[in-house]
């Protein structure tokens, strides 16, 4: 089965949301530089597909939708 690609509308990065081994891939936009204190400067409207959980450890959705993503 051919793997489908997805494009992040925040950073325009392209990725496979499901890898060849059947494992999910969680895209998160790259930093766009450094802050004066040396920490990473994050992209405004950053998309982060890593999951958040509630107090019982249950999946309640992704961390940040950003500008969304589109299947290619």
């Amino acid at each position: 089965m051919a793997l489908k690609m997805r494009q992040c509308k925040s950073c325009n990065g392209v990725y496979f949301p499901v890898q060849a081994d059947g494992t999910a891939y969680y895209h998160a936009c790259a930093p766009i530089g450094m802050n004066p204190d040396g920490t990473p400067k994050e992209r405004p409207n950053k998309r982060d597909e890593n999951i958040q959980v509630d107090q019982f450890g249950r999946d309640v959705g992704i961390i940040a939708n950003g500008a969304g993503a589109v299947d290619l």
Binding site: Q19, D21, T23, D48, N50, F56, R58
Partner: protein, 284 residues
């Protein structure tokens, strides 16, 4: 040798066994309110665990049962309860619903408890272990391990192909620990003059604890391949291949990132999708 064994084979046993009123060979009695608590963590989509149990009922019948629990491969914890028959627990085995599932991809916890989700009190631990499709675990004797012990799941990941002028950044997923084995990518530089230095940073989301340096700078209008790993010594650039050196056993936990930080990166420079190899554990 046969002469020495023959008398042993012919001797009468010194131990006899009862045929009536035999006590159950189990220390675990399941009451009418006890439930089987099944907790699963998985990175594999469309899969789950199957649990088989045998219970010796009070009237002497051995009753087998089969339970299936399908859950998402999102690495979060998933819990379900199954009702059990009253009696002595004789045996329990745990496997996966579908193959292949390798060590490091699915962790199961099988307990006895009481209550209603999400408020369940656990009284007896039966299995805490990685569940695979080719090796069943069970009770007795029970298998108890940390999800961070032993070897993990070795996998190759194709990361995000960034747009031009954007750095590579790969994040370690929820409930996950990685040991970075190798990180491989290509950088195509634009015609804009300047020497790029494509470094590899490993951070915890904020602070950078590990920093790898390439063998050399990369000038404009070139395509270089980069391979970062624990190579020990840094060779000179070989053609267009740059070997970057990392410490051995670089670990990345959830929230951490593996990312390039490029000196003099131009808006027209273009990174490829990274391909990297990690050993992966679920963090339970």
């Amino acid at each position: 040798m046969a002469d020495e064994l023959a008398p042993t084979l012919n001797r009468a046993p010194q131990v006899t066994f009862r045929y009536n009123d035999i006590q159950p060979p189990s220390s675990v009695y399941i009451g009418r309110d006890d439930k089987l608590v099944v907790v699963g963590y998985s990175s594999v989509a469309n899969n789950g665990m199957e649990v088989n149990v045998r219970i010796l009922t009070p009237d002497g019948e051995i009753r087998p049962s089969h339970f299936e629990f399908q859950f998402a491969g999102d690495r979060a914890n998933h819990v379900t309860l199954f009702d059990l028959t009253e009696g002595f627990l004789l045996s329990l085995t745990v496997g996966t619903l579908a193959a292949p599932v390798l060590r490091g991809q699915m962790f199961g916890q099988i307990w006895l408890g009481r209550g209603v989700l999400p408020n369940v009190l656990v009284y007896h631990q039966l299995v805490d272990a990685y569940i695979t499709s080719n090796l069943q675990v069970g009770w007795p004797p029970g298998v108890f391990e940390s999800s961070l012990s032993g070897r993990g799941f070795v996998r190759h990941i194709v990361g995000t192909d960034p747009a031009a002028g954007v750095e590579i950044s790969e994040s370690c997923p929820f409930h996950t620990r990685w040991r970075l084995v190798g990180f491989n990518y290509t950088l195509v530089t634009s015609a804009v003059a300047g020497n790029r230095i494509s470094q590899l940073f490993i951070d915890d989301g904020t602070n950078t604890g590990v920093r790898g340096l390439p063998a050399a700078t990369q000038a404009s209008s070139l395509t270089n391949s980069y391979q970062y790993g624990a190579f020990g010594a840094q060779p000179a650039v070989m053609g267009t291949l740059q070997i970057g050196i990392l410490p051995p056993d670089v670990y990345v936990d959830y929230g951490g990132r593996i990312r390039t930080v490029t000196t003099a990166l131009d808006a027209g420079d273009n990174y490829s999708a990274p391909v990297y190899c990690v050993e992966e554990w679920l963090v339970v």
